[in-house]
């Protein structure tokens, strides 16, 4: 059997294991290990007396991967970003930012909903995880919206959708994971996330204002905040600004040499939030909880990472990504149409899978294909299919898939953000939240369409960084 055939069988087997409910990390590692055994054995002509050799070599090859792949300075961004998010609760940043957003933006039609979207976007700048953001704002923002007569389903939908912004706007664990898998510059990817994230928030806000103007009872504006009150709300939210500024300056300093690597920026951001939390009276027991939770989430993500990378190591021996890329670029269809088909496939896959698992499982094969479609990793903008150089295409596609992955957090039947919002509010069923979030599908579709049509939205900031 040739390696590519083995690659297809093993990949199919892995998807089956995942669908049947095996934990994703172990399903991927298992598929990778079996694939390696198979490929080494096939190399020796599948002779029975060679099976022992193939087993040993495959197990030793797979056994290298966990240590080898997690020992990376770039990946150390992930635990730091997770830690920032947990510390932010203790620092009281969530309430502070919602209060500020309310005082500044609630006067427009659908005002509180618009404020909620901007508050989630602001919180996204210290939180790397969408689900946590949705859970927090379900507690803070929904009660206030209901108090002034908002439609219950709509209020829940706003929070579920707003939560998704956390993975686009840095810090973002998922963008780091993308960068690692495709071996691209983490700093530029993080920079690239800012504008599309803010852009998504603005599209959400416009949608809400439109809805509120058509159906008057959806959400009345809240007025009467004085300028003094507005400015008084800012200091408590200040650490968020500090974290954003720090991350930007570490990655790209417009006034001269940057300050350090994104990894260091993340760590300094976490340190500021930590100081803030201590200042607000965080106790040692709470710190211990935060560290345990950070460890649990970190280990969960890293287990998927090394599990999938065992599978990727097998793919390397089978050369499946190369074959797939060749096949895709040999198609007669227009590259843009293929890209759109790939994005649609993500939308379907994402209905059933979580974001990190989905990206990790598919990118090793899909990413080289997209790069080949554009004309290769080192293509210049002039010779490329999408009108951008290889590295820029990598960034653009990264933001597109992360936005797709975020979209999947609010689509039925498995829309994690909707589950979380319904879970936090006993008076809301999952169906209620899905109904309320429906308008935001339109907003997301519009956003993705615009990001595809106008790549400059994504690429402007990273292109400044050289």
């Amino acid at each position: 059997m040739d390696p590519i055939e083995i690659g297809l069988w093993v990949s199919g087997g892995m998807l089956l294991m995942v669908v049947l409910g095996m934990r994703v990390a172990f399903a991927a590692a298992m598929a990778g290990l079996i694939g390696l055994i198979w490929i080494f054995w096939a190399k020796k002509g599948m002779e029975w007396d060679q099976l022992g050799w193939a087993l040993t070599v495959a197990i030793k090859t797979a056994g290298q991967v966990p240590h080898s792949k997690v020992s990376s300075q770039t990946l150390s961004l992930i635990p730091t970003f997770i830690l920032i998010g947990f510390l932010a609760y203790y620092a009281g940043l969530t309430k502070a930012i919602f209060e500020a957003a309310k005082r500044w933006f609630a006067w427009v039609p659908g005002g509180l909903a618009v404020s909620t979207v901007f508050a989630t976007a602001g919180f996204a700048a210290v939180s790397g995880a969408s689900v946590a953001t949705a859970a927090v704002f379900a507690r803070i923002a929904i009660p206030e919206m209901l108090k002034i007569g908002y439609n219950k389903q709509f209020a829940a939908g706003v929070v579920a959708a707003g939560g998704t912004l956390a993975s686009l706007i840095p810090p973002s664990a998922i963008l780091v994971i993308y960068a690692i898998i495709v071996e691209q510059d983490v700093g530029k990817l993080l920079l690239a996330g800012f504008i599309p994230g803010a852009f998504s928030a603005v599209v959400y806000a416009i949608l809400i204002i439109g809805i509120a103007m058509i159906w008057k009872n959806v959400g009345p504006p809240v007025t009467g905040f004085t300028w003094r009150e507005r400015f008084a709300s800012l200091p408590a939210a200040l650490p968020i600004v500090a974290v954003v500024v720090i991350i930007i300056f570490f990655v790209y300093n417009p006034f001269g040499d940057a300050w350090g690597t994104p990894t260091e920026g993340g760590a300094v951001g976490a340190f500021i939030v930590f100081c803030m939390a201590v200042f607000r009276g965080m106790r040692l027991a709470e710190l211990k909880d935060a560290l345990l939770e950070t460890a649990k989430l970190t280990v969960m993500i890293f287990t998927i990472i090394w599990g999938v990378l065992i599978y990727v190591r097998f793919l390397g021996f089978a050369d499946l990504p190369g074959a797939f890329a060749e096949w895709i670029s040999s198609l007669e269809t227009s590259p843009m149409l293929i890209l759109i088909c790939i994005l649609l496939a993500y939308a379907v896959l994402g209905m059933f899978m979580d974001a990190i698992g989905m990206l990790l499982l598919t990118l090793p094969v899909v990413y080289p294909a997209v790069m080949a479609l554009n004309g290769g990793e080192f293509v210049s903008a002039a010779d490329s299919a999408f009108g951008m150089s290889g590295p820029m295409c990598a960034i653009w596609f990264g933001i597109l898939v992360v936005k797709m992955a975020e979209f999947c957090l609010i689509t039925p039947p498995i829309g994690l953000n909707c589950f979380v919002v319904a879970g936090v509010r006993p008076d809301l069923s999952v169906q209620d939240v899905f109904r309320g979030v429906m308008p935001f599908f339109v907003a997301d579709a519009v956003t993705i369409g615009l990001l595809v049509a106008f790549p400059q939205i994504v690429l402007w900031l990273p292109s400044l960084a050289g």
């Binding site: 090859t61 510059d185 570490f250 350090g260 190591r313 390397g316 080192f378």
Partner: protein
């Protein structure tokens, strides 16, 4: 027979001899013996020796400085200021050292056999800001330099900061390092030259040593004709490598001019002072350290110097 060769990065001057040997071997055996070159798909670069030891692939490239404890004996070739001045000399000293029994014995621990070197020119610095021209200027300098080279700069007060080669541009841009030591091809392919204000033309502090090895069992399992094809192609592959690198070096001055990079020349006094401060203690420490572990350090060092003198005399 089908072999896999594990290298890393992308195809570049540094991997041309591996590509060439694959081509030659296939030609000479009428396609009976093929070598697939994989750029990073089979292993992480720092674990290529592990992969050879396991038997996961049959050929691999690695650099001694990545993991000195895995390959102590050949680190002699990374000592600072050995006096190697061109690629031909680098090939000659590497060949002599690789043939030494102490090296063969250490490589056998990894089930590996030396095939050929990947000769690298001297690792001169590119830097940002004002050119550094005296030893005092090196104090507190954050330099991306690995292995023996890193130690040499440390001896004059610099701080070696290893980022991987692919992160070197970023590290320079973000100020994590302010100078990077690379061979010319790497300054080009990793983009550090685009960030540079100056380049040290004659510092010649040393280089890294990156052998290509084969798995012993796989090598012995080859048919006589295949083994002959492999061994017989080494010289031709290296000639191809040298010719290819030569073209690149010829382009180098033009590149410096285009990018507006200043050529910094050190006075002989400064270089002598650097050598005294960095090279002599490093060499003595290295020899002492190796002898204590039962590796003939003095003998290896003398072998390098003798070979170098012979090579220089013959030209």
């Amino acid at each position: 027979t089908e072999w896999n060769a594990s290298v890393w990065g992308k195809r570049r001057a540094f991997t041309e001899h591996v590509e060439k040997i694959a081509e030659l071997v296939s030609e000479k055996t009428n396609g009976e013996f093929t070598i697939n070159v994989s750029y990073g798909g089979l292993s992480k670069n720092r674990e290529n020796l592990d992969g050879i030891s396991i038997g996961a692939f049959e050929m691999a490239q690695f650099c001694a400085g990545y993991h000195a404890d895995k390959n102590r004996a050949i680190t002699v070739l990374e000592l600072p200021f050995l006096g190697v001045s061109n690629l031909e000399e680098e090939v000659a000293v590497s060949r002599a050292v690789y043939a030494h029994p102490a090296v063969a014995k250490e490589m056998a621990q990894w089930n590996a056999k030396m095939l050929m070197t990947s000769p690298m020119p001297q690792y001169n610095l590119v830097g940002t800001g004002d050119p550094r021209t005296t030893l005092e200027d090196f104090d507190g300098m954050r330099v991306r330099a690995t292995g023996g080279l890193g130690k040499a700069f440390e001896a004059v007060g610099a701080v070696p900061t290893s980022v991987t080669s692919s992160e070197a541009y970023n590290a320079m841009e973000s100020g994590v390092v302010d100078t990077v030591a690379f061979a010319q091809h790497a300054h080009l392919s990793f983009g550090t030259i685009n960030k540079a204000d100056w380049w040290t033309a004659n510092l010649n502090p040393g280089t890294v040593n990156c052998p290509v090895v084969v798995n012993i069992d796989a090598y012995e399992a080859l048919s006589d004709a295949e083994r002959e094809a492999l061994d017989g192609s080494v010289d031709e592959a290296l000639d191809h490598y040298l010719a290819n690198y030569g073209e690149l070096l010829e382009r180098w001055d033009t590149v410096l001019e285009e990018k507006g990079v200043e050529k910094v020349e050190f006075s002989p006094e400064v270089i002598a002072e650097f050598k005294a401060k960095a090279a002599d203690p490093a060499r003595e420490a290295w020899i002492k350290d190796m002898e204590a572990q039962g590796i003939p350090g003095q003998e290896l060092y003398d072998l390098v110097i003798e070979t170098l003198e012979k090579e220089q005399a013959s030209n």
